[in-house]
């Protein structure tokens, strides 16, 4: 676990100023923002695990929790993939390169990339669940020799929503990665790949999966978890090897404001990444 980079003169409640240094339009409503913290000293300390999140402030509008999208192997700046859905993210989408936003974090427990070395990795994600997963995928690929097979299953709503198509193409080409993607529906008939929800891809890789030696990382909307878990258990995956990243409303990120409470846990402190084992009995978790 990496701890939040805090400047002690301002405290954990105050964000660091960060500059937007690059904006990439991903889809009609999704952008990838590359940020750099203005204070060089803090920027050097800004170290994170895939799966951790930051609280992003758009000054004058508010603050939202966003999973980090870039790999920790990338130093000096970091990326956040953001879909335009609420007040803060809508305003953020109007900002330009050079504009200042606020960043607090990184917070929470991420995917335990060190603990799961030498294991096969199975990524299953849907929609904006791609963003935090991408951090783990890139980290694993950058340190490829430390991991066994890398299997990636990605589902999205429709062809226009598909994220990072150029990276997906690269994964498809690589011999040391198994990559499958699907869309839920293709109303405009412009998709020549799989059609169906992401769970339909699991049987395609089932023969590649050795449940004893595979770690599954799942990230997506709440409804997706329910069905993915059923499929994974069918192929004999143990609950302690299934990692899920949960989404909740958050206002503080440090276990004070209580918005992200589930049962006897806080998603911001004890998560957002949990093993299925940890949260199966937790009330209101899934």
């Amino acid at each position: 676990m990496r701890n939040a980079a805090i400047a002690h003169n301002v405290g954990v409640c105050t964000p660091h100023n960060a500059k937007i240094i690059k904006i990439t339009q991903l889809t009609y409503n999704t952008k990838l923002f590359e940020l750099k913290i203005e204070d060089e000293h803090i920027n050097d300390f800004f170290d994170y695990m895939p799966g951790q999140f930051v609280l992003l402030t758009v000054f004058g509008v508010g603050e939202v929790p966003i999973g980090i999208t870039s790999s920790p192997t990338k130093r000096g700046s970091f990326e956040l993939g953001i879909r335009k859905v609420g007040n803060v993210t809508s305003k953020l989408h109007q900002l330009k390169i050079g504009d200042v936003v606020g960043v607090r974090g990184p917070f929470g427990k991420g995917f335990p990339m060190e603990e799961i070395q030498n294991k096969d990795l199975l990524f299953i994600f849907g929609g904006t669940g791609y963003f935090p997963s991408r951090s783990a995928i890139k980290d694993a690929i950058d340190r490829r020799e430390h991991y066994g097979k890398i299997m990636i299953l990605y589902g999205d709503r429709c062809p226009t929503d598909v994220l990072f198509p150029w990276e997906n193409e690269e994964y498809e080409k690589r011999k040391d990665i198994i990559f499958h993607q699907t869309v839920d529906r293709d109303d405009d008939k412009c998709w020549d790949g799989n059609i169906g929800v992401v769970t339909t891809l699991i049987p395609e890789v089932a023969k590649e999966i050795n449940p004893e030696n595979t770690i599954t990382i799942v990230c997506g909307p709440p409804i997706m978890y329910k069905f993915v878990i059923i499929e994974l258990e069918k192929i004999g995956m143990k609950s302690e090897n299934i990692y899920l990243s949960l989404e909740r409303r958050m206002k503080c990120g440090v276990g004070k404001c209580c918005h992200c409470g589930i049962g006897d846990k806080f998603v911001c402190l004890d998560g957002p990444v949990f093993t299925l084992d940890q949260i199966r009995g937790v009330l209101e978790a899934l």
């Binding site: 105050t14 609420g86 909740r248 409303r249 206002k251 440090v254 276990g255 004070k256 918005h259």
Partner: protein
């Protein structure tokens, strides 16, 4: 002995002496509401509240976690201009004396202090707490019918205060210091205090004996966590949600409810603004709402039981204390008379 005696008629003099050196927070009436607020002199202090004729509606958490508070200031284009450390120092100019709070409220402040210190410490809260000296006012009996502090082990705190005042006779109170800050106050205003005599000690011991006799346990807290968990899917929650208006009153008057919402306020020049935080309530429908309109606790019963889950399962497991001090404010100020004791007894299968 380091303890001192003060007479009832000298208490106003003590307040008047304290206000010269400290920002004094004491029981008052604000817009006809019994509460705590900063006083300029002893005439503003409501001594009837002090002597347990009434429990202040708003608990002392309002000093450290005000209902609405600025966390930092910023410019829309340049970012942060003033961090939270600087701001929390400007609320009160002098160090703070929190005067005349009950043992249950002392326990409540202790609960919040632990939570705000743990994991990532909250500077705004802790800077105010560090500058505060607490002078407690002991309870010798249940202060009113809704009080159940004995059940929550909160009427005899061992720490979290600097001086405890206990009535030992009609006219006399004994001031027992519990910290260096407390001793400092007794020394600083030495002329208002008298030495303790052997008969005062006898009276003090008698008072403490009476206290121990008077308080009766109403609810078993041992094993409550697993009872709450076991009854999670039970229909008993629905019974209460039919009555509950989800107004949030119980959460605002609770000394250990601390959840907050943050919002950005932009000033009229549209150039700068401030981040504020304000009390929130887990009973409100949007409490667990996320972007895309997914609500993780959409049903009323889910929201109702979450408060119990947090107070009686999460906090005991994390910190080994309940998120309840048994002050009974939530019972007093509930517009539909929902009684937390009834809920807990039902959960335990006792009624």
């Amino acid at each position: 002995m380091l303890s001192k005696i003060i007479t009832r008629q000298d208490l106003p003099k003590l307040i008047d002496a304290l206000v010269k050196d400290y920002s004094v927070i004491a029981p008052t009436y604000e817009k006809n509401v019994p509460t705590f607020s900063e006083v300029k002199n002893s005439s503003e202090v409501e001594f009837s509240i002090l002597f347990k004729e009434k429990l202040p509606m708003i608990p002392p958490k309002k000093i450290f976690l005000p209902a609405n508070q600025t966390v930092f200031r910023y410019s829309l284009t340049e970012g942060i201009t003033e961090g939270c450390g600087d701001i929390s120092n400007s609320t009160f100019k002098k160090n703070i004396v929190l005067f005349g709070i009950s043992p249950c409220d002392i326990t409540g402040v202790g609960v919040l202090e632990r939570i705000f210190k743990d994991n990532y410490s909250d500077d705004v809260f802790l800077k105010l707490r560090e500058r505060t000296t607490i002078i407690g006012m002991n309870c010798l009996d249940h202060c009113y019918e809704n009080c159940f502090c004995e059940s929550m082990n909160s009427n005899d705190p061992k720490s979290g205060f600097d001086i405890m005042l206990t009535e030992i006779s009609e006219q006399k109170l004994i001031a027992v210091p519990n910290s260096d800050n407390g001793k400092k106050i007794l020394r600083q205003y030495n002329e208002l205090f008298q030495e303790v005599h052997y008969y005062d000690i006898n009276n003090y011991n008698k008072a403490i004996e009476t206290k121990q006799k008077n308080f009766k346990r109403e609810i078993q807290v041992e094993g409550l966590a697993s009872h709450v968990e076991d009854s999670f899917e039970s229909s008993l929650w629905e019974e209460f949600t039919d009555k509950c208006l989800f107004c949030g009153s119980c959460t605002f008057v609770c000394p250990t409810c601390y959840c907050y919402n943050v919002m950005d306020k932009v000033s009229i020049n549209l150039k700068d603004g401030e981040r504020q935080r304000e009390w929130d309530s887990c009973y409100y429908p949007e409490f667990a709402l996320v972007a895309g309109d997914h609500n993780f606790r959409e049903r009323k019963a889910q929201r109702f039981r979450y408060r119990y889950l947090h107070k009686f399962v999460d906090l005991p497991r994390r910190y080994n204390f309940e998120g309840c001090v048994g002050c009974g404010r939530c019972i007093t100020y509930c517009p539909t008379k929902i009684d937390v004791r009834d809920v807990l007894k039902k959960v335990r299968g006792e009624s």
